[in-house]
């Protein structure tokens, strides 16, 4: 598989502040990556940097060989980056279906296929964005990102604050997304074991730097390392 995303010595942050320090990694088409680390180490900042919402101080972001650094956010979405932010951020005045149709771009993901993955969204199709439970909001946030037909899905703490039963449902959906579709995924997650079970390789960040990288399966068995760097419960 060819290379999808590549970061070379990326140093980025908000304004003059630096959050990410000299981060380099690459991701192949259809690959999956878990992004782990404690609170405030720069996981979300990394995703936000990919979407173009931070200041890139140094380094290079490449997308299929093309430079991503100077690209406006909407073009990154067109290029194939699909971001599911932690806060979910539904539009209160749009219905579920309008959330999906307003961003649709050509590809395999249509209203029909998204509804097939999330039948609950079909039941709630006429509900407004602020008339949904947390789990439904998360489903809609993922469904909305899929409608843009991304080649890389960025999931920022998709399980946060959800009931265990919903987490189970989402895990099975995300697993199918990471394996069956040819779409690459980066998962940021506090529940390290969950993220590791969903992905092929993993990176641990600490204070904005990459402190460990390995395949997810072997990291999942390294309790001491996980305790030290991620503080898993």
């Amino acid at each position: 598989m060819s290379e999808l995303l590549r970061l070379d010595n990326v140093t980025a942050g908000y304004g003059d502040g630096i959050v990410l320090d000299d981060v380099s990694f690459s991701l192949k088409e259809g690959d999956s990556l878990a992004l782990l680390g404690r609170n405030g180490v720069g996981k979300t900042t990394l995703l936000v940097t990919l979407m173009g919402f931070t200041r890139l101080h140094k380094g290079r972001l490449a997308w299929r060989g093309r430079d991503l650094g100077g690209m406006p956010t909407f073009r990154r979405a067109h290029a194939g980056l699909g971001w599911v932010p932690q806060e979910r951020l539904m539009f209160p005045s749009l219905s579920v279906e309008e959330h999906l149709t307003s961003v649709a771009r050509p590809g395999r993901w249509t209203l029909k296929t998204v509804y097939r993955v999330f039948p609950r969204l079909r039941e709630r199709r006429a509900n407004l964005g602020n008339q949904l439970s947390g789990g439904e909001q998360q489903m809609l946030a993922i469904g909305r990102a899929l409608m843009v037909n991304p080649s890389l899905l960025l999931l920022d703490e998709p399980m946060e604050g959800l009931a265990p039963i919903i987490v189970q449902e989402l895990v099975s959906v995300i697993r199918d997304l990471t394996t069956g579709t040819g779409m690459a995924v980066i998962v940021v997650e506090q529940h390290a074991r969950l993220a590791l079970a969903l992905t092929r390789q993993a990176i641990i960040l600490d204070r904005g730097r990459i402190v460990h990288r390995s395949d997810s399966a072997s990291l999942a068995h390294d309790d001491r390392l996980l305790q030290r760097l991620v503080a898993v419960a």
């Binding site: 919402f53 406006p72 909407f74 279906e97 149709t101 307003s102 050509p106 296929t113 097939r116 579709t181």
Partner: protein, 346 residues
Amino acid sequence: MLRPFPTPAAVSPEEDVIRPAGPCERIARLPADRWTLRETAFWLMPVLGYFAFPGYLMLGSQILIAGLFALSLDLIMGYAGIVSLGHAAFFGTGAYAAGLLASHGWHEPLSGLLAGAAAAALVALPVSLLVVRGQDLGRLIVTLGIGMLFFEAANKAAAITGGVDGLSGMEIAPLFGLFDFDLFGRTAYLYSLGVLFLLFLLCRRLVHSPFGLSLRGIKENSKRMASLGAPVERRLVSVFVIAAALAGAAGALLAQTTRFVGLDSLSFQRSAELLIMLVLGGTGRLYGALIGAALFLLAQDILAGLDPVYWQFWLGLMLVAVVLYARGGVLGGAALLAGRIRGKRR
């Protein structure tokens, strides 16, 4: 319940066809899209009004034109979230364009109307580039400034616009070559109603299209919408220019039906009254613009009759009451009330 994700093999071939589902495609239609009985009833009112109040057709035309103008502001303010205090600039541009054509030998009304809309859209393009960059306060001031610029430019260019005396001496040919613009305003009323209805349909289609939906998304969270692939600035420029064209059409209608264009068509007062109409009726609903314009002009007419000196006092009182007690204007208040009644029944 969640069903497992359909792997490519599980998807039946007919469903797996990758269709070019362009951004314009709408797979299912929501209730918001459907033409309701209530809407039919609403549009019957101005038709009935034509027969019921033959003595008030001039006022009726004013209401229809103000409704179109308010509709135009609703597109940028109610949907895209651009607050403007200078929208009269485009109304006046349309009015002067149509007026100048008519007073220089081009008497056909429909092409004059089109020219008014086109002129407004043309001047709106550079203005929009200044407006969309800012945030709320910046936009307010930029539009205010632009409005003043246009007003003073028309004032200075008295040789063309007639300055404070206004532009008159227009001649409008019969509509479709058949219907004369008569003294009682019958043709003017029906002409305005027809134009308003057609342009309303256009707006209605627009706000329910993915483009219109993305505007609402931009209003609520522009960053989020950008990350979902919406070119925010370009969309705001587009809707601003479309809205300006509608405002220009409204101005052209006024010029053609009254055969006069005054400087006040570009004035701050007109922009401000427009804002009042829209807030009164309710923003982001299209019908709010029409209802607000009707309420404002009717209230003005009635109050000015009852209290010729202090009528603005009562208008102000009404406005404060609506903003305080019926958030979302008359339509917002009505929706709130309907929700409460339904809630009690349960």
